[in-house]
């Protein structure tokens, strides 16, 4: 096999996973982990300059190149964060060295699986990759072995399995739809073939397939009412995993959905996937917005915020059209960066305060100014306030929607407002007020967090034309 960039983004993590599984010690493995993700990122970046032709199994096109770069980038920064985070967990004895070894290996497996899901040209392969990613994260969520962690992992596992089953059924149905047109065998599962021939597929079968895929991958995306695993999995696992879950895995699942949406969009007779995605998106947004108000656990809070944002993104893609698709892509990117930054902050907060209970962490800006303001900046960004990037995408989503479907836009806007209220209500008791909890200095690296926030800030004000052209191109592809 010729080693090119695409195979490299798969091989490096796979190899690193094996290596890390074998190596003991913490310092070295953490560095290898960072190194591997950095290498993967470099390979992914090289995809911008040249990419191999699509094969039967792997493909890189404009759509997934964006995702790959985003994934590897957040994967890299998270590994940097994870190095300091896990070190602290070892120090306080929440994790033991064997588990750290396991953790690092699994981290690389997860990166591998996500990259595989993104570059897969075969819908079956994509499905398998997402399943691997799910199982890996299940194991990582349960790594602390507390009752809560096991409960969360178990819930994630069961709901994820059912979701995976439904997605598989949808995949089979897509194959069935493709078979009469493309012919039996592998070709009928190759995405690049499918999308060119989709116009001739049986629309009714595609519709049915999409329903299963929507529910199946939607479970992974965390759309309400399929979201149940998400808050607990985010809350009970190690924070780097929460960051990766929110920042990446949800995107990967959404990416899978988008691929299938493109199939439907290419078929004139098929049911427009828009309304389904729009309604699920809105439902998730509004539901999660209300759920923010009663949160007592800081990580669950932001997990629900992820559901909310996945709702917005799904909504945007459901609305379709160049403007909304652009907004959806932008929002997804910004959300990944911001949410992972928030989880970095949250991880440190939980470590310095020794708890995840919001009630026990008042006055953070007083005790840990840098951390506190970083968290505030993150929440400001995630709530869609300017001048950060999410503001721009929300601006585009809302304004482009209102001209087309005023009622939907009003629901959307109300959801956003309720969510903002919920987030800031909780933020107030974390960041402001009389300081509570320990005020010891945090041993943490703030670089990843502020790097993400800086990127988000820049994107909110200025976006490089190349990136814009890229996004516009992809938005056009999405139809």
């Amino acid at each position: 096999m010729i080693v090119n960039a695409v195979t490299a983004v798969l091989v490096i993590p796979a190899f690193a996973a094996m290596l890390l599984a074998a190596l003991p010690g913490y310092r070295l493995t953490a560095r290898i982990n960072v190194l591997a993700t950095a290498l993967t990122l470099l390979c992914a970046l090289s995809l911008f300059f040249g990419r191999p032709a699509a094969g039967a199994y792997l493909i890189v096109d404009d759509l997934n190149a964006t995702f790959i770069v985003l994934t590897t980038f957040v994967g890299f920064t998270t590994s940097v964060f994870s190095a300091s985070y896990i070190g602290h967990e070892l120090d306080i004895g929440r994790l033991t060295p064997p588990f750290v070894r396991f953790y690092h290996a699994m981290y690389q497996v997860l990166m591998f699986a996500m990259n595989l899901a993104l570059v897969a040209n075969n819908i079956g392969l994509m499905w398998v990759a997402i399943e691997i990613a799910t199982l890996t994260t299940v194991l990582m969520v349960g790594i602390y072995r507390t009752h809560e962690a096991l409960e969360a992992a178990w819930k994630y596992f069961i709901l994820g399995s059912v979701g995976i089953a439904l997605a598989l059924f949808g995949t089979i149905l897509v194959y069935m739809a493709a078979r009469p047109v493309v012919g039996e065998g592998l070709d009928a599962m190759v995405w690049s073939v499918l999308v060119t021939r989709a116009g001739a597929f049986d629309p009714a079968l595609l519709d049915l397939a999409f329903i299963f895929l929507l529910l199946g991958y939607g479970t992974k995306v965390g759309l309400a009412p399929l979201h149940a695993w998400l808050p607990d999995a985010h809350a009970e696992g190690p924070t780097p995993i929460s960051a990766v879950l929110s920042g990446l895995l949800l995107n990967v699942a959404l990416y899978a959905l988008l691929r299938f949406k493109m199939l439907l969009a290419a078929n004139p007779g098929a049911l427009a996937p828009g309304p389904l995605m729009v309604s699920l998106g809105l439902l998730s947004l509004v539901f999660a917005a209300f759920m923010l108000y009663r949160r007592r656990d800081i990580k669950r809070l932001f997990a629900y915020s992820s559901i909310e944002h996945m709702g917005i993104i799904t909504f945007a893609f459901g609305m379709g059209g160049p403007l909304a698709n652009f907004a959806g892509l932008l929002h997804m990117t910004m959300h990944s960066l911001t949410k992972s930054a928030i989880f970095f902050a949250v991880g440190h907060v939980a470590q310095v305060k020794g708890t995840q209970r919001i009630a026990d962490m008042g006055g953070l800006t007083e005790t840990h100014p840098l951390l506190g303001w970083g968290l505030i900046l993150g929440v400001v960004a995630i709530a869609g306030l300017p001048p950060l990037g999410i503001f721009m995408s929300e601006f585009l989503v809302v304004s482009s929607t209102f001209a087309r479907a005023p009622l939907l836009a009003i629901v959307l806007v109300l959801g956003l407002l309720v969510a903002l209220g919920g987030l800031f209500l909780r933020l107030n008791s974390i960041a402001f007020g009389e300081p509570r909890g320990p005020a010891a200095k945090a041993q943490a690296s703030y670089v990843p967090m502020f790097a993400h926030l800086f990127l988000v800030l820049i994107a909110g004000i200025y976006m490089p034309p190349a990136l814009v052209a890229w996004f516009q191109n992809v938005a056009g592809l999405l139809g």
Partner: protein
């Protein structure tokens, strides 16, 4: 395809649906496991028959997996777990069996309506296969949501998965079927191990609510 081929395939698929109903009807764990073994057996037969009529030798692998793993190993393993962990032998249900059966009928009707409407272009075999597969999937899900008991739910999930394999084999020429069935077997193994190893006895829905509730979600 000769009519007799079709009829046999049809009959096997129908039988699978019927056994799904039987599973719904059970109220003892052992009986349920036995019925599930029958379910897997019929699936294995059906897959084998498909392998035969489609002339797709790799499907035999799937059939063998179904036969060995699902019809024998898993039910036995579950049996042992029940004994070892002293799980209550009855199956706690959320709604009565009668209601469940009625709902099941409705689901079968729904899947027939949906499938027969949408798969007019596909061959009749695929069409009916899919209709039955969907029924099995839905019945499996129904079982998962109406059984409080973990083992009951695992069985529900397994029969759901049987429906998927049925669909996959019914889709003529579909690659990866073997891989999928392997993957699912692993998944199920995980679940069983989960029940066994972590002693997550009743986490789906607990018998001793007070104890388990404290671990669920945010502490109330």
């Amino acid at each position: 395809m000769s009519p007799i081929d079709f009829d046999i395939a049809h009959m096997l698929a129908g039988l699978l649906v019927l056994i799904s109903f039987l599973e719904l009807y059970q109220d003892r764990l052992y009986a349920l496991l036995n019925v599930y073994a029958a379910h897997a057996l019929v699936l294995a037969l059906s897959v084998a028959w498909q392998a035969f009529i489609q002339d797709a030798p790799h499907l035999y692998v799937t059939a063998v997996i179904a036969l060995v793993f699902k019809a024998a190993v898993i039910p036995v393993a579950l049996h042992r777990i029940i004994v070892r962990l002293g799980i209550h032998r009855g199956i706690e249900k959320v709604v009565s069996i009668g209601m469940t059966m009625l709902a099941g009928m409705g689901l079968v009707a729904l899947s027939l309506v949906v499938m027969l409407r949408v798969t007019q272009q596909a061959g009749r075999l695929a069409q009916e296969d899919l209709a039955f597969a969907l029924s099995v999937v839905l019945l499996g899900l129904l079982m998962m949501v109406t059984r409080r008991n973990a083992v009951g739910q695992v069985v529900g999930f397994m029969s759901l998965e049987n429906g998927l394999v049925l669909a996959a084999t019914g889709a003529k020429g579909m690659p990866l079927v073997v891989e999928i069935s392997v993957a699912f077997s692993i998944l199920i193994a995980f679940i069983v191990i989960g029940i066994f190893l972590f002693r997550i006895r009743e986490r789906f829905d607990t018998v001793d609510v007070q104890v388990m509730d404290s671990f669920r979600g945010e502490h109330r």
